[in-house]
């Protein structure tokens, strides 16, 4: 017997926080978060490189954790906070990781960059993650860069870490 792959017609209502704003979506139950972001919400910054969780180009934050948007149903995101590359810069100011990528030329074609940046931000914000170079390389290894800008990406992450730490210290000093 052949199973029909025909998608059901019904849609689901999903409420989530997208880049800080509440959003209500009508999506078919099988809709993939990546396709919803790109095709329905016109947020093209999150890239598609494989649709199989093998390249990392689609990395977004779900409640602060880096997630492959191509492996996630939109319907699973009820009540969750999703951040995409478009939501990273604040008031037109590049996030320190974006700034470090620019300075270190941490990209070539740029197609992997949104995913690399989202993974890097999640890593830098993760208090449990080890911080030595080998651990960073390991943690970033789900984000392919076929252009091979790996060394500059690693340098940018190290630089952004210093920057974020000194920011945190300065804020700590303030009353």
């Amino acid at each position: 017997m052949q199973m029909s792959l025909s998608p059901p017609d019904a849609t689901l209502t999903v409420r989530l926080i997208l880049n800080g704003e509440p959003v209500t979506l009508e999506v078919p139950p099988q809709a993939i978060l990546l396709d919803v972001l790109r095709d329905q919400l016109h947020l093209g910054g999150t890239k598609k490189g494989c649709d199989h969780g093998q390249c990392g180009a689609c990395t977004v934050h779900v409640d602060g954790r880096a997630v492959n948007a191509c492996l996630r149903l939109a319907a699973m995101c009820e009540g969750q906070a999703i951040t995409t590359i478009e939501g990273l810069a604040e008031k037109g100011q590049l996030h320190p990781v974006q700034e470090a990528f620019l300075v270190h030329d941490a990209y070539q074609c740029g197609y992997c960059s949104p995913g690399q940046i989202m993974s890097a931000v999640a890593l830098l914000e993760d208090p449990e993650a080890a911080t030595d170079d080998a651990a960073v390389r390991d943690a970033m290894s789900g984000n392919l860069c076929r252009c091979g800008a790996y060394r500059n990406i690693q340098a940018a992450i190290a630089d952004a870490r210093r920057h974020l730490e000194s920011n945190a210290q300065q804020q700590g000093r303030q009353p």
Binding site: L5, T46, H52, E86, Q108, G110, C147
Partner: protein
């Protein structure tokens, strides 16, 4: 042509002008484009590699939600093939039109294109298309699955190698193979096609390295005047050669859009991208070297066979760099071609030469061992200080500086040449080195530059930025000649409505585009100067030649007028300059090549056979690097790709039926962050003004050449095993004499 000596901006590290767009997600790649009313195409790939398509069952797929149409060999417009001429600018990657007949030549060949309202509807329906085939059993699974040699397509010889071999005291003779490799640009191939008007115009967004080639080919295929086809490619998720020339998905998509009267976008799924948009073909190379006991090369024989498909003839000329690599009087190369049931191969970064250099530079290392010589000393002993192939001087060759400088930074002198003699902890350390080289070419090119009312400039050229940094170097060139900061220069690329520019390929874009951009800049300055010395101008009555250009202003005898002021006084919105450039007679006087040296340290654990590249030290001579920040990045990226070629990458075709087994990014392994070693790249700065006024020869491919043989040579030093087949997987090292059992 005035040489740009002592430049202020060219040759200096410059962050990319398109960087912020890329890093914030604003940059619109072809996959990101959406237009109103757009449909989605999803191809259906053949599941056999050799036979005939007997029937397609489409009823179930047609009944799926959102499906608009399904194109296939009985439902497809009558189109013409492209003449496929490099010279006439309509070369394509696969000449056969989609669905042209019912023959199946390779696994993944398109048998249908499903068009639906949404992407997931198209995909769901494509998975419901059923095909019935008649398989044929005389399948040709690949060059490396048999010993067929193929037909000779090219040869070269000088001197008399056979006599030299008959008398030579030392002979090395070995055969080297390289597995087929996939380009895997992170943005898959994608076409968005829309038709407008009753006198039809075709607009195509494509992730391509060659907008003009695609435009011309589409014009031939759809029988349109070229000016009614526009191809757009602003941002490209890289290419590495497989986006140079158009593939059939673009034709099928444009045909669907015309048939349905709506725009259609087809993004190839990764699996199909790997099956049907080209690969570096497998190669088998036999190298024979004859030498005297002092290591002087007496003869070189380089016989290569590479694969092509049954639908096209792609020649991956492996021996291309060999005739000019070493000072040697007797050299013969031969190239053979074997047609197999794979998708058509295509150029992949440093095509041909990178494969040939693996074989040659491995063989030189083996010869050094036979002669008991240092491999570096053997290379210097046979140094070609002029081009022995064309019997011409080099325009500029600093290979000796590269070899010695990189050896010094690497610590080559501290190498203990005995196998397995260097250890750290559980690991054995291996050192290896190889030379790098890539030809330097340029093409004709046109450009336009406008000086605008606000004093900013616009530079336009119909080439592409595939990630190499073309946007930025164009801005640097204009900034250099006008003194206007890079931030005030807009650069437009990637549209066929712009002046005709080159392919992004062959490492030729820099040397091709910048001289045209410079000519256009000077022409625009000329127009401005003419106005300034004319009636009512800031410099009325001055001799035009007395005007200098400084920091966005014209200056003479202590008087200064900014570009914006001049335009304002004459109520002009802008002035525009045109420029063109093409290679001239220099090619008859000099040979042009880039050079480099790679030194590699591998670490091998004889307990578990774990192998890694730990350190790479490289020196690269490309004349002048226009933007050293992006240029070094190119070399580092090439080193990453070289590690893939050396240790990881292999497309696997089933020897029984030629089906591609590992067309995905889990089973086809590309280097990841964790594979990246410590890298120290030095870019020499010997501007090659015989080549162009910027002294730049191009940077995209040179870094890849020589990495794989340097790794193989280091692996031999560490393990005692000479591996002549790429990739070097750890199981090949299990019978090393040093393995711990």
């Amino acid at each position: 042509m005035s040489e740009i000596n002592d430049p202020a901006i060219v040759g200096h590290q410059t962050p990319r002008i398109d960087g912020e767009d890329k890093l914030t997600g604003r940059a619109t790649y072809t996959t990101d484009w959406q237009v109103t009313g757009m449909l989605h195409g999803y191809p259906v790939p053949a599941t056999i590699a050799h036979g005939t398509l007997e029937a397609l069952e489409l009823d179930e797929a047609r009944a799926m939600p959102g499906v608009v149409d399904i194109l296939h060999h009985r439902h497809f417009p009558e189109l013409q093939r492209s003449p496929n001429s490099m010279k006439h600018g309509d070369q394509v990657s696969e000449v056969r039109l989609p669905f042209e007949d019912e023959r199946i030549y390779y696994h993944g060949q398109y048998i249908a294109l499903v068009v639906a309202e949404t992407f997931d509807q198209a995909r769901a329906a494509a998975l419901c298309v059923r095909a019935r085939y008649r398989r044929e059993h005389d399948v040709r699974p690949g060059l490396l699955s048999g010993d067929a040699e193929g037909e000779t397509v090219d040869d070269y010889s000088r001197g008399d190698p056979d006599i030299a071999f008959a008398s030579a005291p030392v002979i090395h003779d070995a055969t080297y193979t390289i597995a087929p490799e996939s380009h895997v640009p992170l943005e898959p191939h994608v076409t968005l096609a829309e038709w407008h008007g009753s006198e039809p115009r075709l607009i195509v967004h494509e992730s391509t390295q060659g907008i003009f080639y695609e435009r011309n080919a589409l014009a031939r295929i759809f029988d349109l005047p070229a000016e009614r086809v526009e191809v757009i490619s602003h941002y490209i998720g890289s290419g590495f050669g497989n986006k140079l020339f158009m593939w059939p998905h673009a034709v099928a998509t444009a045909a669907a859009a015309r048939l349905l009267g709506r725009p259609v976008k087809t993004v190839l799924p990764r699996q199909q991208d790997m099956m049907s948009t080209g690969q570096r073909p497998a190669s088998r190379q036999r190298i024979r070297l004859a030498a005297d006991p002092d290591g002087r090369l007496m003869a070189i024989h380089h016989d290569s066979t590479s694969e092509t498909s049954l639908v096209d003839r792609h020649v991956d000329a492996c021996g291309g760099a060999t005739p000019s690599a070493y000072a040697c009087d007797n050299v013969a190369t031969r190239q053979r071609l074997l047609a197999v049931n794979h998708g058509t191969p295509c150029p992949m970064r440093a095509p041909g030469e990178v494969s040939g250099i693996f074989a040659l530079e491995s063989a030189i290392d083996e010869l050094a061992l036979e002669l008991d010589m240092d491999p570096l000393a053997l290379r210097l002993r046979n140094y070609a200080d002029h081009d022995p192939q064309r019997d011409l001087p080099w325009s500029s060759k600093q290979l000796d500086v590269c070899l010695k400088g990189a050896a010094e930074r690497f610590g080559w002198a501290a190498r203990d040449p005995r196998i397995g003699a260097m250890r750290k902890g559980d690991e054995i350390i291996g050192y290896g080195m190889a030379s790098a080289t890539w030809f330097a070419g340029r093409q004709p090119c046109e450009a336009r530059v406008e000086i605008r009312a606000d004093g900013s400039l616009l530079a336009a050229c119909g080439t592409q930025d595939i990630g190499t940094g073309t946007y930025t170097i164009v801005a640097q060139a204009v900034a250099e000649l006008t003194g206007v900061p890079v931030a005030s220069i807009d650069v437009r690329l990637g549209e066929t409505s712009l002046p005709a520019g080159p392919l992004s390929g062959g490492s030729m874009t820099t040397a091709t585009a910048l001289p045209a951009v410079a000519a256009a800049t000077r022409d625009a300055l000329d127009a401005l100067q003419e106005i300034a010395v004319g009636p009512g101008g800031h410099f009325a009555g001055h001799d035009r030649a007395s005007l200098e250009v400084k920091e966005g202003a014209l200056v003479a005898k202590g008087q200064r007028a900014g570009f914006a002021e001049i335009l304002a006084r004459h109520r002009l919105g802008s002035v525009s300059g045109k420029g063109s450039a093409a290679p001239g007679g220099e090619r008859r006087q000099y040979s042009f090549r880039s050079f480099g040296a790679h030194f590699v340290e591998v670490r091998w654990d004889p307990g578990i056979s774990r192998l890694r590249v730990a350190r790479v030290v490289s020196s690269i001579d490309v004349g002048r690097a226009v933007n050293p920040l992006a240029a070094r990045n190119q070399v580092e990226g090439a080193i990453a790709m070289g590690i893939g070629m050396g240790l990881l990458e292999r497309l696997e075709y089933d020897p029984r039926d030629a089906r591609l087994i590992n067309a995905n990014l889990a089973d086809y392994r590309v280097p990841v962050h964790a594979d990246m070693p410590d890298v120290d790249v030095e870019l020499l700065d010997y501007p090659d003004f015989r080549f162009n006024e910027f002294g730049a020869r191009g940077i995209g491919e040179i870094g890849l050449t020589g990495i794989a043989p340097a790794i193989a040579n280091a692996v031999h030093h560490a393990t005692g095993k000479r591996v002549r087949d790429l990739p070097i997987t750890i199981e090949t090292l299990l019978d090393s004499p040093l393995i711990m059992t």
